[in-house]
């Protein structure tokens, strides 16, 4: 069995990998949903866009479900405190996500423009709202979240209903939300450029060319904002990393520039923000040069870079508490037991490669441009 400290670190990497997997796969179809009203103007065009992701969106969404399950199993306290603390935001995400399975399956079952338009807006909401809110959540993690733990480790959150939701939607968090939304929209646009017929593919190309550089600019802006605002937390003293998890046993202070500590200590980590800055610029050119496949790959790296930057900046924090910094949850003190981390590590190590293998098989067999002729030919069975 691996030692406890190593497993705790492995699980930080694995949760990050699951989130990146979610953003790269499901983010793509959420991006397509967000673009639906803008790149597809009539029913056939919309069906072209929808059917490029039709066979895959459901499998992609399991990355989100699995990331949720993995949080529960590996970081139960994070799952408990974050999901109940962000209650209203979680509801917003859930309700938006409800539109997707029904939207995809029901939309083309009835040939009525009002019916189909309604579901198209549902697919738009189901793509854009979660993409925005996930970014907002990360923005709030970077600012600290108003919760504390009592002596029995029950988490208490400040505010309810609107008084809990509105503070989440502050300017910095919204900036993070927009970055998340735009990076996934670019991802969807590149997918459409790669897989949809004309004129959808060409419109998507224009979107990617324009939006990708915006992602880089806003990402840089967020970095500057974080430096200037002085948000950040630092651990002053803590028990050994391999000891039994107890969040209340450490001392934490709020400290300006603390979120930049890791880049000084471990310069290799600068690779993540560099990917996030350079990647989108390169993506814009690749889209222009009509290399959507390569652009999609580079954008996947850029997304990983941006998520990685958030994770690395916070490290070892996962959920910093602005109300009672000591209650903050970290990679070392919010984890499951040694045995559970090990069991789950083995499960992921065995199962995830299998998942990746059959996912590739499925994409490979469904490959090909979704053209207008194909939609008309399969109008009874296609989405």
């Amino acid at each position: 069995m691996l030692d406890y400290e190593t497993l705790k670190l492995i699980w930080w990497v694995l949760v990050g990998a699951l989130l990146m997997g979610f953003a790269i796969t499901d983010g793509m179809d959420m991006g397509v949903g967000s673009l639906l009203p803008f790149v597809a103007r009539n029913d056939t065009e919309r069906r072209m866009a929808i059917n490029t992701v039709g066979p895959h969106w459901d499998g992609n969404q399991v990355w989100l479900v699995t990331a949720g399950g993995a949080l529960f199993a590996a970081w139960p306290m994070v799952y408990a405190a974050a999901f109940s603390g962000f209650y209203m935001a979680m509801l917003l995400v859930l309700f938006a996500l409800f539109f997707r399975p029904v939207g995809f399956d029901y939309r083309s079952k009835i040939d009525n423009p009002t019916w189909r338009n309604a579901w198209d807006w549902g697919l738009f909401a189901g793509g854009a709202i979660p993409a925005l809110i996930f970014g907002v959540a990360f923005g709030n993690l970077l600012q600290g979240v108003p919760f504390h733990l009592d002596e029995l480790l029950r988490s208490h959150y400040q505010g309810s209903l609107l008084t809990a939701l509105l503070p989440l939607l502050n300017p910095f968090a919204l900036l993070a939300g927009v970055i998340s939304l735009l990076m996934l929209t670019v991802h969807g646009a590149l997918w459409l450029q790669l897989r949809a017929g004309e004129p959808v593919a060409d419109r998507a190309r224009t979107m990617a060319m324009v939006l990708a550089p915006t992602v880089a600019v806003l990402f840089a802006l967020a970095g500057i904002w974080l430096w200037v605002s002085g948000d950040g937390y630092r651990i002053v003293s803590e028990p050994a990393h391999g000891s039994l998890p107890n969040p209340l046993a450490k001392e934490v202070v709020r400290a300006a520039h603390a979120w930049f500590d890791i880049y000084g200590r471990l310069p290799i980590t600068l690779l993540a923000p560099l990917l996030g800055l350079a990647g989108p610029v390169l993506v814009s050119y690749l889209a222009k040069w009509k290399r959507p496949g390569l652009a999609f790959t580079v954008n996947a790296l850029a997304i990983s870079g941006i998520i990685g930057t958030a994770g690395l900046s916070l490290f070892p924090f996962i959920l910093p508490s602005s109300l009672d910094p000591r209650s903050s949850l970290t990679v070392w003190d919010a984890t499951s037991s040694h045995l559970t981390l090990m069991v789950m590590f083995v499960a992921v190590a065995v199962l995830l490669p299998v998942v990746l293998a059959y996912t590739v098989w499925c994409y490979a067999h469904m490959w090909g441009r979704v053209t207008a002729q194909e939609i008309e030919h399969r109008s009874h069975s296609a989405y």
Binding site: Y79, V102, L161, S336
Partner: protein, 526 residues
């Protein structure tokens, strides 16, 4: 100190979202296998009518599946959003099967389901069959893992409470995985899903036969559903009985409540067929009993007694008192006492810490509870009897009625007398809702019968909640019920529309509504 309204609202929300979710799950669990059977015949014989059957029943499957996915998302996140102390307290054990469910089952099911719907032109016959098969395996595996999680809530083995981390921790994954409660409930539940899907296909096919349209299509579908349904219905009943036996072993309160067994009867106990359980007098009025039967079901013996609720309540009172001592020692450990003596004292009563926590509904510190508090806490360990008693009986009754229906359908179909017995065809149509009612009642018995515990004898439900307000819950509960009901109405509208259209909805040009009127009785081109 505990806001009862808030706890009730949290429970209502979980019950509502879970019961809504389970309107869609059983059909998915079973219909996938019916699709596998139909497609296997297509692959082996090459007859197009079987492909049409897969496509048509697959269309109805899809309409149902979409809502299963939508409502299932809620379940994955609801432990964290609404049962946050639960998530902290048992996530170490409970989270693992949930995460593995995602990795092993949801990925499989969801990755291939898209190819099932949209891959007909892009895959070979065999590849598509493999896709259908893997979807079925995936959805059934998800049932396995969720029952391992749920089985642990009923019978929390393979784990131990850790005072240092203030939570339950896994000590044997194998024990959690091989939990007998999980295993019997898994097979019982998936078989119930197979019954649901069979009744669905049987009823709709019977309706086509009654209308005299698309007969070759309808008769073949009817035959598949009758055979599969009969086998599945027998399994549900046998495995349900097995489940009763396991209950007698590990969930004595639930069993006694289902049977309204207030006092311990001399073995073997009788089975109460009818009665009006009275929670205040602890008696069942107007009881009609069959001697011996319950003792046989629950203990598989003539001599072991089934312990009654009154005796169980007394046992619990003793465990609550020992839980008080455990809680006092826990407080010492939590406030920094690391001495081995305190630890040993805690360990002596550690198994009753959950019973100690029951007192938190009356006092902040269970160690300070009065004798009256202890007695009230002991009384709270007995769930309300009459809903369990009746929900169980209706479920079982429906199970036997469905068995008769499948039996008759199978027999009349095999002897080719089906069309002369229109009463049976009508019965099959009318019986369509029966399996859903039975499934929902089954879950009600399983979960309401576990009260007052979220995790059996470990964590009381009222402690398991999040720190939210009643306002939050009223808002979200209204939202869920409103949104789900709207989606359900749309789903039923589409389901009825396409079920009425029948295979004509495939647009293949060879079924009833596409060829117009009276030619309906001719055999479609194959």
């Amino acid at each position: 100190m505990i806001d009862q309204t808030f706890v009730e609202l949290s429970r209502w929300q979980f019950a509502a979202t879970a019961l809504y979710h389970f309107l869609f799950v059983p059909l998915t669990l079973g219909l996938t296998w019916l699709l596998v059977i139909m497609e296997a015949v297509y692959v082996m014989t090459g007859k197009e009518i079987y492909r049409d059957m897969v496509k048509f029943w697959g269309k109805l499957f899809g309409i149902n599946f979409a809502l299963g996915v939508a409502t299932g998302l809620t379940m994955e996140f609801e432990f964290g959003t609404n049962w946050s102390y639960y998530s902290h307290y048992v996530g170490d054990v409970f989270g693992a099967p949930l995460a593995i469910e995602g990795l092993m089952a949801f990925f499989l099911e969801s990755t291939f389901i898209g190819l099932f719907f949209l891959g007909w032109d892009k895959l070979t016959k065999r590849q598509h069959f493999a896709v259908t098969f893997l979807t079925a395996v995936g959805s059934n595996l998800s049932a396995l893992w969720i029952h391992i999680a749920n089985g642990w809530m009923q019978n929390p083995i393979g784990s131990v409470f850790s005072p240092e981390t203030m939570r339950m921790e896994m000590h044997s994954f194998a024990e959690v995985f091989l939990n007998p409660v999980a295993q019997v409930k898994f097979v019982h539940t998936v078989a119930a899903g197979y019954v649901t899907a069979s009744m669905f296909v049987l009823g709709i096919s019977a309706w086509y036969i009654l209308k005299g349209r698309d007969l070759p299509f309808a008769r073949r579908s009817f035959a598949v559903a009758a055979g599969f349904g009969l086998a599945s219905c027998l399994s549900v009943i046998v495995l349900g009985d097995e489940s009763g036996y396991t209950l007698g072993d590990v969930q004595k309160v639930k069993l006694a409540a289902i049977e309204a067994e207030w006092t311990t009867e001399p073995a073997p106990a009788g089975f109460t067929v009818f009665g009006l359980p009275n929670q205040t007098t602890h008696q069942t009025d107007a009881a009609l009993k069959i001697p011996y039967v319950m003792g046989l079901i629950a203990t598989r013996s003539y001599d072991k007694p089934v312990i009654g609720l009154n005796d169980l309540e007394k046992e619990h009172e003793a465990r609550i008192r020992s839980g008080q001592i455990a809680y006092a020692d826990l407080t010492k450990i939590r406030s920094g006492d690391k001495s081995p003596e305190t630890r040993a004292a805690f360990d002596a009563n550690a198994k009753d810490i959950g019973f100690g926590l029951l007192l938190k509904q009356f006092v902040e510190d269970p160690a300070q509870a009065t004798d009256a508090d202890v007695k009230a806490a002991a009384a709270s360990t007995i769930p309300k009897v009459w809903p369990l008693f009746w929900a169980f009986r209706v479920m079982v009754g429906l199970g036997f009625l469905m068995l008769l229906t499948f039996g008759a359908a199978f027999w009349l179909n095999a002897t080719k007398k089906l069309e002369r017995h229109r009463w049976l065809l009508w019965t099959a149509v009318i019986a369509i809702p029966a399996p859903w009612i039975a499934c929902e009642l089954g879950w009600f018995v399983a979960e309401f019968g576990r009260q007052p515990w979220a995790i059996g004898e470990v964590l009381p439900t009222f402690l398991a909640t999040s720190s939210l307000t009643s306002g939050d819950l009223i808002f979200s509960l209204t939202g869920f019920i409103g949104f789900y009901t709207l989606l359900l109405i749309i789903e039923i509208y589409l389901m009825v529309k396409f079920a009425r259209l029948g295979p004509s909805s495939l647009g293949l040009g060879r079924y009833h509504f596409e060829r117009g009127g009276p030619s309906a009785h001719t055999v479609p081109a194959e």
